[in-house]
Symmetry: C2
Subunit: 255 residues, 2 copies
DNA sequence: CGATAAATTGAACTCTATCAATAGGTGTGG
DNA sequence: CCACACCTATTGATAGAGTTCAATTTATCG
């Protein structure tokens, strides 16, 4: 019965029980945040890092003309902003899309985390996966039709939810409006609606009441050209690396 | 007279002379690579990391239907694939776009680098900037018109070239075809051509002979809605952080 | 100086955006 | 429990931006 954060980090490899205990502590005092609440704003340089425990959040950027792009969805188990330790200021916003449970981890606490080799490596892994996810999103917007984009996004969210144990079969809670889907895929709201309808009429999905059921996973993936490789869910589990680590500290980690 | 790699890393903050010396050694035995050569292919797990010293390279992803998306441009001074130390396999290709000078840094050597606190922090910084650059590209594809996308991309490349001392005024070598511009911005070749022509006729740029001259930088930036914040060029120079570091090893770093 | 790649042009066609209005749902207050 | 207000989803019609196909001109390079 691990918490979501532990589940997420252990996707990369099992962690020693000390580490798991530490993560349990980290997650101890969460708080509730209503929907559409900003956690961090562009320009901020907060003193803590956020972790989503339940609900849904996103990174987004606003343009002069009022349009906005959602650049990432933050699911339970996701760290939001390890960035702030190096960069001078956030270059985007982070806000909740649905009522969420969130923990704030103070800087010193994060330091503790990175002192543990296993956790440090897992965090490094999440950073790289986030980057790969961004690249996949870029391919999505650059090379696919509107309907394919939506399909691909839904495939990704499903796979990610599944990976932290929040989906059964093809079904999971997805408290997203079609407008938000549109903002993430770079299409208009009206067209997003038509695409969703098309996916429905093709009997690939059922999407209503903040719940998504993927009826035909293979069909959806095929339509989207989805390949989960970029999520690197095989983690480092079967990895035969020796020492190294771009993140400094050595010592034989987990397992 | 620092080398490009040093120049790039010092954008984040000045490095001790020991570090600079180490970087000079790293860069000592480069080799030439012709244009359109793959440095790494999807699925690979090479034993070394590439650094571009001159020329131009890119990350790209190929789709079933033959379309491809360029997800990043790699300029002189850029590290290509620190990823390979954690992830099991590359999820995209890296290839040259023009004849380039490249160094291969073996794993052990990279380890040495990350042992130096100043360099480790600078590398961490480049990773975060790369991520921010991806987000900016996502906003570009998601929310801007074709012409604006091209304009934005050119603004970014200019700013980045300038930052490593490879542009004077608005002028710099840019060995890109319009087809590559199209692959990066997610538009067709024909349309890319029309956009470039439009930018020309607006007297914003001159682009020929593998050289880009930005005639009216303010005009181009305004058209593109370009804001260089995301490149975090102010680095950590004026930073008043104390210790920390997500990348493990402590010790008071540079400056 | 040919040969091949890159840039250009024109025209027809599509996908997607925009505008505008309607319908369905949900929550609140009376 | 109903009415009002507001948000989300849906529909129809029209306009545009961008794609595709096909051909031509212009560079570039050995």
């Amino acid at each position: 019965m691990d918490n979501v954060l532990t589940r997420k980090l252990q996707l990369f490899g099992e962690l020693p029980s000390d580490d798991r205990k530490l993560l349990d502590e980290i997650v101890r005092s969460p708080f509730e945040v209503p929907a559409d609440q900003e956690l961090i704003r562009e320009g901020d340089r907060p003193e803590f890092v956020h972790v989503i425990l339940s609900g849904l959040a996103c990174r987004s950027q606003l343009l002069r003309n009022g349009r906005r792009q959602i650049t990432a969805f933050l699911l339970p188990g996701d760290f939001c902003d390890l960035h702030i330790f190096i960069l001078k200021a956030m270059d985007h916003d982070i806000s909740t899309l649905a009522p969420s449970t969130v923990v704030r981890v103070p800087r010193a606490r994060v330091l503790e985390l990175t002192q543990r080799p296993g956790i440090a490596r897992a965090l490094w892994w999440t950073t790289l996966v986030d980057e790969a996810t961004l690249r996949a999103a870029l391919v999505n917007l650059g090379q696919r039709s509107a309907e394919e984009r939506i399909a691909h996004l839904l495939c990704e969210l499903h796979t990610r939810m599944l990976s932290v144990g929040l989906a059964e079969d093809g079904k999971f809670g997805l408290p997203l409006t079609q407008a938000e889907l549109a903002d993430a895929t770079g299409i208009s709201i009206v067209h997003a609606n038509r695409c969703v309808q098309s996916l429905r009429s093709k009997r690939l999905i059922v999407f209503s009441g903040k719940t998504l059921s993927i009826i035909d996973i293979d069909g959806l993936r095929d339509l989207a050209g989805f390949n989960s490789l970029y999520l690197h869910l095989d983690g480092g589990k079967h990895d035969n690396l020796s020492k190294h680590e771009a993140s400094g500290d050595a010592q034989g980690s987990s397992t």
